[in-house]
Symmetry: C2
Subunit: 430 residues, 2 copies
C-alpha cells in the first residue's frame, strides 16, 4: 500500500535537508558554546572548512547551488520549543540545568550567521566569520552537509535495487563489528560520529544497532538530537578549538604558554566529575602534562585524540603516577581513528590499569569502504576549524605533525613556546 | 510518519496468510493440471507431505491450530478475475491460449479439496485425497505453508532489530551469489524456488535481485503470481507425479514399463518447442533412455533432477549422439540442489556441448543457512508427493536411492521392471 502522506511529505521540501535541527550537533559543542558565551563572548573568529583528503574533488562532486541550499536551510533553523525544553530540563552527566537560563535565552534566539562560499579549483573554500559562540555552531552541520552531499552524488547514480543491497551490506558490516565488540561486555563506547556520518538516518540506525547489540556497553551518543529522540545520554566534553582560540588571543609568548591551562581553569570552574577530561594534545601532550598545574592531576581523565593512542595512554598513566594519583581511578577516552579491532586491542592493553572508554566516530557512522565499485563512499578527512581569532591566526600542532595547522612561522613559534621536539608522523585516515 | 492504513490492513487479517492466491504456485503444476484434466480427470489420488529431514520436528515447531488456519485459508481461495484473465490471455512459451477454455472454466470454479492433518510424534501427517487435478494443486501451497510456519517459529523469537540485520545479511548473501553469476552473462537461470521458499515476500525480493543483477541471464520464475505481477516469463514443464501416477495405474508389468512413455506421448500431443523436456529419472535415467521411442530424441531437451548432474548430462549427450541428434541443439536443464558454484561449474563443463539452463530452487529463495545462531532457518527437505492412485501405491526411484519412495515390495518390482541396477547414493540437502 502506498503511503501517500509520506510521499507528499518527502516532496514538499524544495530540498531534502541534511540538517533539520540546531541540536543535530555534538553535545560538546553546546558545552563549549556555553563556556565561550560566558568567558569569550565577543571574540571574533573565522572558521574554515579544510578537506585534508585532497584526492576527493568536492567541487566536482557537489553542485554549488545544492550546497548553498543546504547551508541556507541551516541558517533558517532555530531551536524548537521541545529542543529548548530538553536542553533546559534534561539531566546531563548527572547534573540538572547544565545549560543556564541566560545561555538558553541566547540560544533560543540564535540563527546561524552567514557563510562565505567560493570554489577554488576542485575544492570549496567555505568560511564562517563572526562572534565565537555563533560561528562555532557551524562546524558540525557544515561537515555533515559536505559529507552527505558527496555521498548523495554517488547514491544518485545507483538504482533502487543497488541502494537496497548497499544498505544491506553496510548494515551487515556494522553488525559484524557489533558482534565482535559484544564479546567484551565491559567495554564502554559512545557514538562520536556526527560530523563525518554518512547521513542522519544512517547515524540513527547505527546508534540503534549499538544500543540493541551492546546494551550497557553503549553509553550514549554525542548527537544531541538522537540523544533526545531516543532518550540516550548525550556524551562529550571539550575540543581543540578552546585552546586554539585562547592561544591565538595571547598577547605574548608567556601568555601563549599559559593559554591551554587558562582554558581548563575556566572549565574547572564550570564543570566537575566526568566532564573534567583533559584534552592535552593541542600543542603536544608531553609538554602540556609536564607543565600542567597540580590541580589538573585531580581531574577525572584524559582524552587521547592524536598520535599513537597506546603511547598517549602510557604517558598519561606515568604522569598520574608521578603526581601521586592512582591511574586505576582515572578515565582514558580514546577517540582518534577507531575501528572495532583498535577498540578491542586498546581495551585489552589498558583494562585494569585505567578506566577505559571509547568515542567511536567515522568508522562507526560512515564505514562504506569497499561497498561501491570505485569506493566512492569511503569516508575522507574533512575538518572545520577556527583559523583566526581577533585577527590572529590559530595554530594546532597535536601529537601528529600530519594534523598540524596554521602559518609556518606561527607553527615554529608554538613549537618553541610549548617545547615540542620531534614527533612521529602518522597517516590521517579519517 | 506512520502509515496507519497499512497497519490497519495488516491487523485486519485474523491470520497473516502465507498463500494468498491459487496461482501462487509453480507454472508446471498448471500445465500438468491441464494435462491431467484432459487425460486422467477421474483418477483418485492421495498426496502426502513427507519431511525427509526428520531432525526438524515440525510438530514441535508449528502450532497445529495455526497450520489449520493457513490450510483453511487456502481452501477459501479461488481464481480472481485478473488471474483468470492473465492465464487465458497471456503468452506462455511463445504460445497464446496455452490454457484451454474448458480447463479455465473448471479452474475458475475450483476450491481446493479438504485435507487430513494428524500429529504423529514430532511430525505432522498431512494428506490430501480426491480427484487428481484438484488434489495436485495442494502440493506447492502446502509445502510453502509448512516451510514458512517453521520459519515464523524462529522469527517470532527475534527482536525488531535482529530481524532487520537478518534480512540485511540474507540480502547480502544472495547478492554475492548474483555478483558471482553475472560474471558469466551467457548463463540462463530461472527461479524454481516457490515450494521451499522462506516466504512469498522473500521470494519476490529474490526474483527482483536476479532480474536487477542478471538481466537477460534471468529468464523467469516458476511462480505464476510473481510472473504475473512482475511481467516475467512463467517457467516450467512437467514433474515426476505424471509418470508416478501413470505407473501406479498400470495393470501389469508390461503396462508399467510403458507408463513413463505414455506420459510423454500425451505431452507430445499437447506441447511443442521448449515445453518438450524429458524428465527421465523417475525410474532410472539409463533404462528410460535405453528403451525410449525414437521420437523422444527429437524433443528439445532433458531435465536432470537427481543423481550426479554431470553424469546425467553425459548420459543424455551420449544418447542423443547415438540417436543421430546433435547435442549442441539440445537443452539440458539442471534443477537439483543447485547453488551458484554448482551452476558455474556445470556451465563451464557443458557450455558449447549442449544448450544449458538452470532451475534454481531452494538455495535461491531460502538460503538462511548460518544466519541464526542455531541455524534454525536453514532449509530442509520437505516434499509433497502422490502416494496412491486409484488405490495402488506409487513408487519413485530417481537416480539417487536416498530419494526413493514407495512400499519396499513395489520398489523391488519397479527396479526389476525398469532394469535399475546399483545406484550411487547422494545426500539430499534440499
Amino acid at each position: 500500500m502506498t503511503d501517500i502522506a509520506t510521499r507528499v511529505w518527502n516532496h514538499k521540501w524544495k530540498i531534502d535537508p541534511i540538517v533539520r535541527s540546531l541540536i543535530d550537533t555534538d553535545f560538546y559543542k553546546l558545552l563549549m558554546c556555553q563556556s565561550v558565551f560566558r568567558n569569550k563572548r565577543d571574540t571574533q573568529v573565522t572558521f574554515s572548512l579544510i578537506n585534508r583528503s585532497t584526492s576527493v574533488p568536492l567541487a566536482h562532486l557537489i553542485d554549488e547551488g545544492e550546497l548553498r541550499e543546504q547551508l541556507d536551510h541551516i541558517r533558517s533553523l532555530s531551536l524548537t520549543r521541545g529542543e529548548s525544553t530538553w536542553l533546559r530540563g534534561n539531566t546531563f552527566y548527572g547534573k540538572r540545568q547544565m545549560f543556564r537560563p541566560d545561555f538558553m535565552e541566547w540560544f533560543e534566539n540564535l540563527r546561524l550567521p552567514d557563510y562565505h562560499l567560493e570554489r577554488v579549483g576542485d575544492q570549496y573554500e567555505l568560511t564562517f566569520e563572526g562572534s565565537w559562540p555563533e560561528v562555532m555552531l557551524w562546524e558540525i552541520p557544515a561537515l555533515a552537509v559536505l559529507m552527505e552531499l558527496r555521498g548523495r552524488a554517488v547514491l544518485n547514480q545507483m538504482g533502487k535495487f543497488e541502494l537496497q543491497v548497499l544498505y544491506a551490506r553496510a548494515m551487515t558490516k556494522l553488525w559484524e563489528k557489533v558482534e565482535k565488540l559484544r564479546e567484551v561486555p565491559e567495554l564502554r563506547i559512545a557514538d562520536f560520529g556526527t560530523r563525518r556520518r554518512h547521513s542522519f538516518l544512517w547515524q540513527d540506525w547505527c546508534v540503534q544497532a549499538m544500543l540493541d547489540g551492546l546494551g550497557p556497553a553503549f553509553v550514549g551518543t554525542s548527537n544531541c538530537l538522537i540523544a533526545k529522540n531516543r532518550d540516550l545520554e548525550a556524551i562529550g566534553t571539550n575540543a581543540h578549538e578552546l585552546p586554539m582560540v585562547y592561544a591565538a588571543l595571547a598577547q605574548d609568548d608567556a601568555a601563549l604558554a599559559q593559554a591551554p591551562y587558562d582554558v581548563l581553569a575556566d572549565w574547572h570552574e564550570e564543570h566537575e566529575g566526568n566532564l573534567r577530561i583533559i584534552l592535552p594534545d593541542t600543542y603536544g601532550t608531553e609538554g602540556f602534562l609536564r607543565n600542567a598545574p597540580d590541580y589538573l592531576a585531580g581531574w577525572t581523565g584524559i582524552r587521547i585524540d592524536s598520535g599513537d593512542p597506546a603511547t598517549g595512554a602510557e604517558v598519561a598513566i606515568k604522569w598520574w603516577q608521578d603526581r601521586g594519583e592512582d591511574p586505576r581511578n582515572k578515565l582514558v577516552i580514546f577517540s582518534d581513528g577507531l575501528d572495532e579491532n583498535k577498540i578491542l586491542e586498546l581495551y585489552q592493553q589498558f583494562a585494569g590499569r585505567v578506566r577505559v572508554s571509547f568515542g567511536w566516530g567515522t568508522l562507526l557512522t560512515n564505514d562504506f569502504r569497499g561497498l561501491t565499485p570505485d569506493n566512492g563512499l569511503a569516508p575522507f578527512s574533512l575538518v572545520c576549524k577556527a583559523v583566526r581569532a581577533n585577527g590572529n591566526p590559530t595554530v594546532k600542532l597535536s601529537d601528529n605533525p600530519n594534523k598540524a595547522m596554521g602559518p609556518e612561522a606561527e607553527i615554529a613559534r608554538y613549537k618553541r613556546v610549548f617545547g615540542v621536539g620531534d614527533q612521529a608522523a602518522m597517516d590521517v585516515v579519517v
